[in-house]
């Protein structure tokens, strides 16, 4: 009985892994195709589509835009999230529960609807479509996340260190910069990198709120109009590689910091 369960488990697990990996393996394999259709038979390996991607200025500038939007919107989100988390954790504010609920509310609404709302508002207010508009949207989706992560990590021990610093005569800004920020660094990093990955991969909001200069997922979306194309495979594989580097970096920085 036990052996049957064990064999069945193996078969099932392998089948699920196969299902999970199938599209990605196909994606990466046919990014190395040397002919112009990413379908069997495999004719590679060849790096010509990677070359095509890297010499495509629309894609490379979209990549730079994506990084820019991701870094700036995440920095804004984590700053606002950190300050508000500090305020709510340290002071008794009237209606605190309600206000905290308000900050985390965007987590419950789909990106499509957040993007739609901003589109309607900006349209009324005459704000043109731009990367800035998309960045504002990315702060809306990531601020609640940063707030929740940092707020949940603010505990008594950190507040006691702050009090000690204040008793020793440190002014408020010094407490913030020299005590609170370093103590909260792991949570701040976690919020920042999580925001980065969400912003980096976000499509609908950028799609609705940008026009000419746009982000990488939107530019990839535009590539899809040409149907199956090894160039799309190559971009996808590159994004995959960048994301994995980011994740490994994230894992290492967090794991390194935890024991400290």
């Amino acid at each position: 009985m036990r052996r049957i369960v064990s064999v069945a488990s193996w078969i099932y697990a392998l089948a699920v892994y196969g299902f999970i990996f199938l599209p990605v393996v196909v994606l990466v394999l046919f990014s190395l195709q040397s002919t112009s259709f990413p379908i069997p038979p495999f004719t590679g390996p060849s790096l010509r589509w990677y070359q095509a991607v890297l010499s495509d200025t629309r894609l490379t500038s979209a990549l730079v835009n994506s990084l820019l939007v991701a870094v700036l919107s995440s920095a804004t989100a984590v700053t606002l999230g950190f300050l508000s988390a500090w305020g709510f954790a340290r002071f008794v504010l009237p209606g605190s529960g309600l206000l905290r609920g308000l900050i985390t509310l965007p987590l419950t609404v789909s990106y499509l609807i957040i993007g739609m709302g901003l589109l309607v508002l900006f349209n009324w207010a005459g704000v043109p479509k731009s990367l800035l508009a998309a960045g504002i949207g990315h702060v809306v989706i990531n601020l609640p996340l940063c707030f929740a992560i940092i707020y949940s990590q603010m505990g008594d021990h950190q507040i006691n260190i702050e009090r000690a610093a204040r008793d020793l005569g440190a002014p408020e800004w010094k407490v913030l910069l020299l005590i609170t920020v370093p103590v909260m660094a792991p949570a701040i990093f976690a919020g920042f990198f999580l925001s980065m990955t969400f912003s980096w991969d976000e499509f609908v909001i950028s799609f609705l709120l940008t026009r000419f200069d746009t982000t990488l997922p939107v530019e990839i979306w535009n590539l899809l109009r040409s149907g199956l194309n090894p160039k799309t495979n190559a971009v996808g594989s590159l994004v995959f590689a960048v994301s994995i580097v980011l994740v490994v970096f994230f894992e290492l920085t967090l794991l390194r910091r935890r024991p400290a």
């Binding site: 606002l80 500090w86 957040i114 601020l143 996808g236």
Partner: protein, 289 residues
Amino acid sequence: MSTAGNRTGRALPRASDALPWALVTPALGWTLLFFVLPFVAMGLSSFTAHEGGAATWSNYSQFFANPAYWQAMVNSLQVTAIVTVVSVLLAYPFAWILAEQVPERWQRLALMLAVLPFWTSYVVRSYSWLLVLAQNGVINRALTGSGLISEPLQLANTRLATVTGFVHFFVMLLTLTIFANLKQLSPSYRKAAADLGAGPVRTFLHVILPLTLPGIMVGAFLTFVLCIGDYITPQILGGNNELLMPQLVMMQIGRRGDFPLASALSIILMAVVTVAYLACARWLKIERT
């Protein structure tokens, strides 16, 4: 958290008036300005026939009167229901195997491996399924090559393709949540069941499964919410043969520039999600008591 706030609330005698508000106002202001206000604008817009027009119900009545719109909601609900059920059924045994059959020290690696393919961009991941399911894609080539079928099957641009793309994503998500749930169970439950004479099957059905049910519900609800609001997967894999709600919303903006109707459809979609949440929350409470 609130205890920390209470205890230190008086630690700052003078600054306590202006400083706390200076800290929380930027975040609150951002949320009000770029989340609440857009929502109000969308709500107002949904009651106009065209930009700046007089108040009217026409966008909402249009939704209920036009069978094509109505059908999009039915499609969305059907696809979401199928995806949620299939994903839970596939993910539960997988999570169970990872938590119970895989040796402890390999579990972290096994889990990381299961998540790895999802670090491509979401758009690219849907596109990769197109490579697999296309007319002359991997599956059709394999099937015709082996002589199982003579004509390629229509796999892409179907509901099946949309469901496959969604299930792929949500099996991963649900495996993570169910795995975490299984690991949280104390081993003493299992020992107690064994001591009382229950076999492994009985232990699973009467102890493990009921204890992980609330976690499954949370995962299933998350699947429902993310699935019903997603535009990318149905647009890339399902195509325009059969529209889902997010596609219908985007179509009003893209082709027709009809913001009021798009707003009304978004609000209807959100209302459905809210109803689902209320139903789910109630069900969860009943389970706990």
